[in-house]
């Protein structure tokens, strides 16, 4: 499964993070997060393990580039995000070397940092427990309680890409005359293109309200 053509651009992080803030709250999973201050920067360590179950090895080990986009925000309840960031990770399993080549791009490393992980256990640890996610300057920490939210997109497919592959969505008979019949239960066929099930996944996580005192290293 390859979705790298839909890779989010680092420049789109802010917009995506803003979208995250507006994302519906219903589907959010609990998020275990630890926030600290290091070198004047807010950094987060997260537990996203439910987004990367052991069986996802089949997805990430398919020999094609898989993309994971992570967006994290920190906000006081009901307020716009005070801190936010994004991270895009390309994962490519080499079927001959049986290693995972991982490229991570962040705002402070837009060109990407490459690493090679020896097996899926190492890859899962890397994806499920991100460390040192830079949220911005420590001064952006809210005075009161705050919530950390994270959104994980696995292999997002862009609308633009769907458009490129879309042709006639229906194939009605060329000879069928316009203006058909109808009835109380008038059915029509050829509805074939619904939104295709592209197989990507979206996970939204939200932490419990946290107090500034829980931020270590201040």
């Amino acid at each position: 499964m390859s979705r790298s053509a839909a890779r989010p651009r680092p420049g789109a992080f802010l917009a995506a993070a803003a979208l995250l803030a507006a994302h519906g709250a219903a589907a959010a999973e609990p998020l275990a997060a630890a926030i600290s201050v290091r070198g004047g920067r807010l950094v987060a360590s997260l537990d996203l393990s439910s987004a990367f179950p052991p069986q996802s090895e089949r997805t990430f080990g398919n020999g094609l580039t898989n993309v994971v986009a992570l967006h994290v925000t920190l906000a006081a309840p009901g307020e716009p995000p005070a801190a936010l960031t994004g991270r895009v990770i390309d994962i490519l399993f080499d079927v001959w070397d049986e290693t995972y080549a991982v490229t991570t791009r962040e705002p402070n490393a837009p060109g990407g940092v490459r690493t090679v992980l020896p097996d899926y256990a190492a890859l899962r640890a890397f994806l499920a427990y991100p460390r040192d996610v830079d949220l911005g300057p420590a001064s952006s920490l809210p005075q009161g309680s705050f919530v950390v939210e994270a959104r994980v997109d696995v292999n997002p497919v862009s609308q633009e890409l769907l458009e490129r592959t879309r042709e006639f969505i229906a194939n009605p008979s060329a000879t069928q005359r316009p203006g058909g019949s109808r009835s109380v239960l008038g059915a029509m066929a050829s509805f074939l293109l619904r939104e295709p099930e592209t197989g990507g996944g979206v996970h939204v996580f939200r932490s419990r309200p946290m107090a500034p005192a829980e931020v270590t290293g201040r």
């Binding site: 979705r3 580039t65 080499d94 006639f168 194939n171 000879t175 316009p178 029509m188 066929a189």
Partner: protein, 478 residues
Amino acid sequence: MRSRPTAIPAIATAIALAMPAAAQLPAAQLSAAPAAVPARPASAPEDASGAPAPRLYQIEKIEIRGLSHAHESAVRSRLLLTEGDLLDEEKVLLSRLRLLQLGWFSRVETRVERGSARGLVVLVFEVDERNTLLVSDLILGSTPAQPIYGGFGLSQQNFLGRGLGMSGAFVYGGPPSGRPGDPDRFALRATFFAPDLELPHLPRLVAGASALWLRGEEFTCTTPDCSEADHHYGSAPRLRYERIGGEATIGFRPGPFERIMGGYRLEHLHGAFLAGTTAPGKLPDLRAGDSLLAALTGTWELDTRDDFFFPREGLRTVAQITFASHILGGNYEYSRYYLQLETAYALFGKPLRLQLAVGAAQGDAPFFDRFYAADFMYFAIGPALGRALELNFSTDSRYDAFLGMAGIEYAVPLWRGSGFFRRGYLAIGARAVYSSAEPGAGRTTVSKWPFSAECALRLDTPVGFFNASLGYLVDIVL
């Protein structure tokens, strides 16, 4: 370095630098002689982080797994890669999306497996086929002159597993009310459509054919509701007619969302006037006895909608011209023009859909090639009722030469899920229809008011799209 979709020019350069010998070999040659590929493909230079860049692989074999109905060659023809190509992830992704958008599969996954030698890979497409046999027509109706009639249609969107469309439908009304010994009225229609026809030395074509057998009646009373018959419709005068024929079309696709088609239509017609106990009114246009209708048709279709059931963007336009003449072998000399336009539910940024239709028929067009206004209304206040597969079960037989329709629909999405009723929305609409028998004749009062409205529950299911229409119920009552 492996092909990266977002930086193709750079990658092309990198490929050329990394493995010039392989890159210069034609794909067929590579396929025939995999030994020509380096046993361990050259790597791109290491990047600043010191990690090696991914390597470039050649596709030794493409496997499609999970097919039960769809023909493998039909699936392969949609892929953008062939065996012997270098593995291009963008083409893999686009191929996968193309397969998904065919509508034949509920799931398409891709993966790469080791080939027979280092540097070679097997590209695997794993698919789950979905149902492509759909209900196309489900008709149940009642009029004062016909207590009950009904019909059914099925459409196979992947006929023979080769992406061909095949559909059939029928409507049955039995003998006319009050005349049990008369022939049954029915309509049968069968259509075949090849959306992507490959012929040697020609661009890809589209082709279709349809057949129709219809036996019906049109009342010829002096009033639209045949009030002079006093509900004894068996004694009313009528035109009994029969149509047997078909149409063959062929065309091409100037763009991914367009079709231009030309067709030849030939029908054998038979019309007979049956006098009743009341005085006859105007007869619908049809030659008495046997006649032939021969016509050329030209159709342009544009469909950029993103979804057939609930489009949120795009446009559907159909323009059709019919030209019938003696020189084509028929007995009728007329032309017919029809234009239909329908937007997605996205007008003014709201879930609003605009619908427009205009039509004109000139010359001695038979009545069924004119415009029956009730076909274009949500409901008609009066005896007229929208036809079923072109069969008219109402007492109103007024067909017009000019038609204009404008409508707007507002949609309220209700749910989406994975059950039988996958999606549903409530459609609330209004339409105005104007039709006229001839220029300057004024509006034909097929409906007392030119306006009609709709409130319908539309359902998307695995077997078709259903429309539970309050407008149609009102139409039957009014």
